[in-house]
């Protein structure tokens, strides 16, 4: 059995369950991103795979070996920390080959490995420098290099880019994705940044409250969220949720008929409690008085986009995103057009009601 297999893994600190029976299979060569809000257990789960936290129950297998009982060093995994965790008294070369030296690797092998990793990461000129003399991005590359020279079967990344500034983060994102392709390595990457998750992952694992909410390819999750949490977590600004009533095959918002419900599974659609509409699927009609009525409460102009915050006549707070610079001003009374072809219905337990029509 190749790849990583996590079976019914739980973790509790005293009476608090931080990881609740997680099952997960990761294929060799896959780039998987754990994403979720602070405290959702994503880092804890990663640390349990690394062996830095014990597991309370369940088992973890890597390429056919059970690893959850092994010492961290024996698991053939490596980890890159958010804070880099470089040894400040060692230079770049010593930092990178520390693990090899401990394992008494011959000198030629150590030199070869460090040289290869350094050239892959553009660190060749910096090998004699101490971490204190490096920039944040260079330090992060040294931390990655330290992982590479050990040839682990699994790379773990714990929010590795969150200490970098936005421009460097974007650059490192692309570099990491390239590195993963070059090495063909299996990687698990923890982040709370949905842009990193959406752009880098083969598959995303959305975690919430120690539970896996949904696993899937980035666009699958975006277009077919399994529940309200996933729908709200992916996409920025976050999805709008509006209470609805279903009557005679039609969906009513604030007492007005909005759309017929033939697009959803007819056996379940009667349970619908909320409709989720992404901000980009709400367009504003400044002159017309068609559709939903709303007043503009705030406007954020980002240059390429405008976020318009609205208060509907029914008292719901909504956000609309339009391209370019919108002419909205706070206090304007406007009409709203909702594009229901990209919308999602959720029942009273926040579970998505499947659509039966084809969505992208």
């Amino acid at each position: 059995m190749q790849g990583l297999h996590i079976q019914s893994v739980s973790k509790s600190f005293g009476t608090t369950n931080v990881i609740k029976s997680v099952d997960l299979e990761i294929e060799p060569g896959e780039f998987v991103v754990f994403v979720g809000p602070s405290g959702c257990g994503k880092s804890t789960l990663l640390r349990m795979i690394a062996g830095l936290e014990t597991i309370s129950s369940g088992r973890i297998d890597l390429n056919g070996r059970r690893i959850d009982l092994l010492e961290p060093a024996d698991r053939r995994v490596s980890m890159v920390f958010q804070t880099y965790a470089l040894y400040p008294h060692m230079n770049v070369r010593e930092n990178m080959d520390f693990g090899l030296r401990i394992n008494r690797a011959p000198k030629e092998k150590r030199e070869r490995e460090v040289k290869e990793a350094a050239s892959m990461l553009s660190l060749s000129e910096l090998l004699e420098r101490k971490p204190g003399a490096l920039s944040g991005g260079q330090r992060q590359r040294v931390a990655i290099g330290r992982s590479i020279v050990r040839h682990p079967e699994l790379f773990l990344f714990d929010e590795p880019l969150s200490n970098l500034d936005a421009a460097l983060r974007g650059k490192m994102r692309i570099e990491l994705a390239r590195l993963q392709r070059e090495l063909g390595a299996t990687m698990i990457y923890v982040t709370h940044d949905q842009v990193e998750a959406m752009t880098m992952a083969d598959r995303i694992v959305v975690l919430n409250g120690g539970r896996v909410e949904q696993v899937g390819a980035p666009l699958d999750l975006f277009h077919r969220p399994a529940n309200r949490f996933v729908a709200g977590f992916l996409g920025a600004p976050t999805m709008n949720f509006i209470p609805v009533r279903i009557e005679d095959g039609a969906l009513y918002i604030d007492g007005h008929k909005a759309v017929d419900v033939s697009a959803w599974d007819q056996r379940q659609v009667g349970r619908a409690k909320y409709i989720g509409v992404r901000p980009e699927n709400i367009s504003i009609d400044y002159d017309g008085d068609t559709g939903m009525r709303a007043s503009v409460s705030a406007v954020e102009r980002l240059g390429s986009q405008t976020h318009v915050h609205l208060e509907s006549a029914g008292g719901h707070s909504l956000v609309s995103v339009s391209q370019g610079t919108a002419r909205a001003e706070p206090g304007d009374l406007v009409g709203l057009q909702l594009d229901f072809s990209e919308s999602h219905l959720f029942d009273d337990r926040d579970v998505a009601i499947p659509r039966v029509d084809a969505t992208p």
């Binding site: 961290p72 060093a73 980890m79 965790a85 470089l86 520390f98």
Partner: protein
């Protein structure tokens, strides 16, 4: 720039702090007659006769060697014990950890004087009076609690990720201690060594009670008997004290460059 008047009290304090040392060095170059005539004065004909006398006529070198042995032995023993204890207390989880640290720390407030009589009785029974080994044990026992306290506090400030990274690299606890913790703790460790060495080197109480044999006297004990035996020859005593200060001065100057901040720069963030 601060206004210059703040320098006045600071200068006064500096003078007050340095005056005894200046007096010691100046007086050591004067002869006994001059000193008897005027206690505080610059030497009229400065000479090294007191130094020659201390080094040649008195067993000064022998005493210095004894002091060195005691200081090195007890500081070495104490540092090894304190490093191992502090590493366990700061970085390992076990039952009774905080109790041990609490007890060890509370030992710092016990005045050595209160332990002299019971220790003396015990050492007499064990035959450890007048032995360097026995005295080293006492000194090491006295200075270790401070070492454990200081190093535990310091080790706790080292970032957890460094330990985790080292574990993932395959380092065991002892390897992490020697290859990661100790190099990063050099400033704390060297401060501790200097402070403890000063204490042992300058101690009179224990040296005079537990090492009574003339051949085992330490510098401080030896200098103190100068006065009684040689009619209170102050310039000679000052020459002895000046000589006794030199090793500690060297130790301090040698380690001073390690007392720099920023050794942790670049570890995290």
């Amino acid at each position: 720039m601060r206004p210059s008047w703040t320098h006045v009290p600071l200068s006064l304090i500096a003078v007050a702090a340095l005056a005894p040392s200046v007096f010691m060095v100046v007086t050591s170059f004067r002869n006994l007659e001059d000193y008897a005539a005027d206690k505080v004065a610059w030497p009229e004909s400065p000479g090294l006769s007191n130094y020659v006398s201390a080094l040649v006529e008195h067993p000064f070198v022998k005493w210095g060697f004894n002091s060195l042995l005691l200081t090195a032995g007890s500081v070495l023993l104490s540092t090894i014990v304190a490093v191992l204890a502090a590493y366990a207390l700061a970085r390992m989880r076990f039952a009774g950890r905080s109790v041990i640290l609490g007890v060890s720390t509370s030992l710092m407030v016990v005045p050595p004087v209160t332990m002299i009589v019971p220790l003396f009785v015990l050492y007499t029974q064990l035959g450890l009076i007048n032995t360097f080994g026995g005295t080293i044990l006492i000194y090491a026992g006295l200075i270790t609690p401070f070492g454990v306290f200081l190093l535990t506090t310091f080790f706790r400030t080292l970032p957890d990720e460094l330990f985790e990274a080292a574990r993932l690299d395959g380092a065991g606890s002892f390897r992490i201690l020697t290859n990661v913790v100790l190099p990063l703790s050099l400033p704390a460790l060297l401060s501790l060594i200097v402070v403890n060495a000063l204490y042992v080197w300058n101690d009179l109480l224990i040296a005079i009670i537990f090492l009574q044999d003339d051949s085992r006297r330490t510098l401080m004990a030896g200098i103190s008997v100068f006065q009684g035996r040689y009619n209170n020859n102050v310039p000679l005593t000052m020459a002895g004290l000046t000589l006794a200060s030199v090793p500690m001065l060297i130790l301090y100057v040698a380690f001073q460059r390690y007392f720099i901040r920023g050794l942790m720069a670049g570890a995290v963030k």
